[in-house]
Symmetry: C2
Subunit: 582 residues, 2 copies
């Protein structure tokens, strides 16, 4: 037996007990006549004590020579501490050790196993097994487990069945790039790893499974941006015999449950906003609505006044930054430099200080009088003391730039509070989006998303205007889930594939099984998928997903701990009927 | 809204209600003046009625032209049935339809959607989405969900944390063959899909995570035997600061809980048996102990009697088949033919009929008298009315053959009862097993399994005799779980790798990260992994795993529904820096 208590369990009520504990040496303090050792496990820290008076000399000496992260098993008696530590749950007691066994020695770890470590990201990833000993990472993983248990139990109680779909499936060149798996038994052929179980969950609906979910790994071979992982986890869900409203209700229920169970936050009902409204009010299809600063479109009040920059712009749009009229010239110049950075890409920024006395001071006073600027304040909702920031140019870019500025300023002003949760449904997404690179329309969501009733015909005349039965769930400015009502008849699916540039043969080769299935009695159906990594990070009040993943990959898709990927034996390649083409 | 009740929900108490239902046409009976339609969904079947008296002519005509598996939405009134059907829960009522919408038509399905279908395995797999509509398959998937929920909730309550480990890891040529994944971003390099999360769960123990589990897909690129899948699901578990006894207790607890919660079966305590005992008593390391027929070794009483077949055999071993003395000559000959089949491989079989009058009649009466045969009966535990079957030859093959015969006869005699559950721990497995093909010792469990204390030294002198801290959980003659106490120090792990034929360089390249981790304070740890597919099938009282998997692959590793694996575009291959070598 290695322990009958954990290191976090002992209290004053245990005083007098003989206990056996196992754990790691967190810290050792040697005062000569007394040695204290902090012993740590997953559950906490307990203080061990050895002293000249009560501890045999040999044992005291052994304790003295312990090192950080040594693994110990000890027996001893729980005694009251003379100087108590109110900061830890075991702070009232210590364990007077009578037997000490070193279960394993440890080299000095490459970084400190403390909440605030001296290890940089690279070192922490290489020795992730040590990093996981640290409370912040350990607690994130435990938190993730709690969230997934809540998700599973909630959905299961709602009649959803978790069904495992296959990982070795078929590559479909449409969409993101697949990871592929050569088949040894089927020479020259490959499986693909799923980017999502999309078609399988639809087939489960055709199969009558009616309420499906799965917490499942998905794979995308994309060039990795910061905080993207080649393998990621989805809460994948699908329902049959439902309208969009049924789905929004069902998964608002799940999200509300999580907010309550995990964060003790009540959100009675989630607001909804169309995609068009989100774009015009926030320049963003996943607006953070924890704070205001809604866009005010100024074309009507700012054009035709001899200011050519505005007059030639498709869109003039501003936000009122609360209590920022007091920004110095230097601060405002820095803001202008910020929006002109290539990552944002604005050409410049016009500003208006709304003075406390009701007057205005702007960078374009030459062109606009006080009355003009008062109109701007009216449109942007600026109050005395606010700063109006105005950008102009083509509509799409300008909105995107102003959205970036809005988020940046909200961050600086402390308006993006980690403990505040503002969910939002964004609905009525466009069905298609124009892809500059390929010069084609792509499915904004995926090729299985249904157009709004009666809009199918517009695919020929005005494809960009067709709206989809598609929705995203946004939480604090992050898309945490997205889904749609699917196409469930072959004819519509064929039209959709045609508009996405598939030949009938390509559609049949890649998705023939799905269109076949639609001919055997497919029910109306739809669903949603949540990004679990992101959801857990946001619920945990953090920005990056990496520390909610036990063994993440770096931005080159490498696992630096195990050093993967790696070269294969020639024999392995030969068995797979492959040659390198390097 | 598509429905306010499901098709299985309505009862006599609902009579008079206006309801909306959606589902599939299971069956249509047209009696001219009345048409009945059985409407089916996941939850059951409800009878719809249309008749000349109460249904508008147009609607009656529409109902008459419905086809099997059409998808309908209906509105109507719940009425009492004149002739009730006690066989289905909704049998007291029917729904008099007032509105009928065909949500989707259906072609005639390629096989009947009935509990007993006319579809063969191949057809069912190609149209698996239709197969899933059938109760047996649908109920298996729901059953699987229930089992996994029980597993997760039980383990979570016991303090286990589910941690997701990566799917894109590193190939290790040791053991079974890996599926590999070429890396586009790391030219000429490959990931491998995990055969199990073994090293990661050990690293979690090094990381202090102490009680881990994961229900996780694993992958093995083996030539597929019947009822093997290239991707399969494990309940993967690991604990730190534990002895073997702690682990057996913990997972006996899980299994006991499942038997109780899922099958309402109480098994107070699981028997244990050493590997050596299992082999000598049952010729099998996963004995089915729902019935007796234990092996009786007859060397002492059957050799040195002029019967050369036995005299020259390493082992003479028999079983007493209950109440089989009445087998006819023809039946016994058929049994002898059965053991001589190449799949079993015995050279012949000696038998003794234990007559009800206490006399014996054997196929070797020439060599053995009644007293000799009485001794055989004594050793095998045969009673009057039993048949003793005796095989001989080299020990290993003979035991294997007799084990096959024992299982076959138990099946014929109805002793392998699907509703009876006999779990068994088999412990003290050998550490190594000799592999004829490679002429080397392999790890019987895996290279991370620890030898019994004090036996490490025997690796040089008598490797085959070294026992491991390894154990299997056997249920009804199937290995449902297996595990071990792991090595947790670098020196022992190095010795183990050396004995398995790794050079120090190979060990370092492949498992350097693990041996590094062992130097930073690895705790004693061990674990177990359950084969979920098999476990669920056995709990479900069935022999094959395939119908507990939503979308299984066939014996060539193909998904015949989606037609995977498949060829890749040349462009995809080029991006992966690969050429086919065919």
């Amino acid at each position: 037996m290695f322990r009958n208590h954990t290191c976090g369990a002992l209290r004053a009520s245990d005083i007098g007990k003989e206990v056996t504990l196992s754990g790691w040496v967190q810290k050792l303090r040697d005062k000569g006549f007394v040695v204290w050792v902090d012993l740590r496990d997953r559950y906490g820290i307990v203080q061990l004590v050895f002293d000249e008076e009560r501890t045999p000399a040999e044992l005291l000496d052994k304790a003295r020579h312990l090192g950080r992260e040594f693994v110990l098993k000890v027996q001893g008696k729980v005694i009251e501490r003379t100087s108590k530590n109110p900061n830890i749950p075991t702070g009232d007691i210590e364990v007077l050790v009578s037997e000490l066994e070193i279960l394993n020695k440890a080299m000095v770890p490459p970084f400190t196993i403390e909440d605030q470590t001296d290890g940089g990201e690279d070192l922490r990833m290489k020795y992730r097994y040590l990093d996981i000993r640290r409370n912040p990472v350990k607690n994130n993983l435990i938190f993730r487990h709690k969230v997934t248990m809540e998700v599973r139990n909630y959905l299961s109680e709602q009649g959803f069945i978790e069904v495992e779909t296959p990982y070795l499936i078929k590559s479909t060149p449409e969409g993101a790039r697949d990871f592929v798996v050569p088949s040894r038994m089927n020479e020259g052929q490959f499986y693909a790893l799923p980017q999502s179980p999309q078609t399988f969950k639809q087939l489960l609906m055709v199969g009558g499974m009616d309420r499906y979910f799965q917490i499942v790994k998905c794979f995308r071979d994309e060039d990795l941006r910061a905080d993207r992982q080649p393998e990621f986890t989805q809460i994948d869900c699908e329902m049959a015999f439902v309208t969009q409203e049924d789905i929004l209700q069902a998964f608002e229920g799940l999200t509300r449950h999580l907010l309550k169970a995990i964060k003790n936050v009540d959100v009675p009902s989630f607001p909804r906003m169309t995609y068009d409204e989100a774009m015009s009010k926030y320049g963003n299809d996943k607006p953070d609505i924890r704070f205001g600063m809604e866009f005010g479109e100024l074309n009507d009040v700012a054009q035709h006044k001899n200011f050519n920059v505005f007059n030639s712009a498709e869109l003039v749009v501003g936000i009122a930054v609360p209590e920022a009229a007091s920004y110095t010239r230097k601060e405002i110049d820095a803001l202008i430099d910020w929006v002109k950075r290539p990552q944002v890409g604005a050409k410049g920024m016009v500003y208006v200080k709304c003075n406390e006395d009701g007057s205005y001071k702007s960078s374009v006073d030459k062109f606009y009088n006080q009355e003009d600027l008062a109109a701007w304040a009216d449109v942007t909702g600026a109050k005395p003391g606010d700063l109006i920031c105005v950008l102009s140019g083509d509509s799409h870019s300008t909105r995107t730039q102003l959205s970036a500025l809005r988020m940046e300023l909200a961050g600086r002003l402390g308006l993006r509070k980690a403990d505040e949760f503002a969910p939002l449904w964004v609905i009525d997404f466009p069905l298609l989006e124009w892809d500059e690179e390929s010069g084609k329309y792509h499915a904004m969501h995926h090729p299985f998303t249904s157009p709004k009733p009666g809009q199918l015909e517009m695919l020929d005349s005005d494809p960009a205007a067709v709206k989809a039965n598609a929705y995203d769930l946004v939480l604090n400015g992050n898309e945490i889930g997205g889904g749609s009502i699917r196409i469930h008849d072959k004819a519509t699916q064929e039209i959709m594939f045609r508009h996405l540039g598939f030949t009938p043969e390509e559609a049949k080769t890649q998705f023939g099984f799905l269109m076949d299935a639609f001919q055997y009695g497919a029910p109306p159906h739809g669903g949603i998928a949540f990004g679990l990594d992101r959801l857990v990070a946001i619920l945990g009040g953090q920005e990056t997903i990496r520390d909610f993943i036990a063994f993440p990959k770096n931005n080159s898709g490498r696992d630096v701990m195990i050093d993967a990927p790696a070269k294969l034996d020639d024999a392995q390649l030969a068995e797979l009927h492959l040659k390198l083409d390097t």
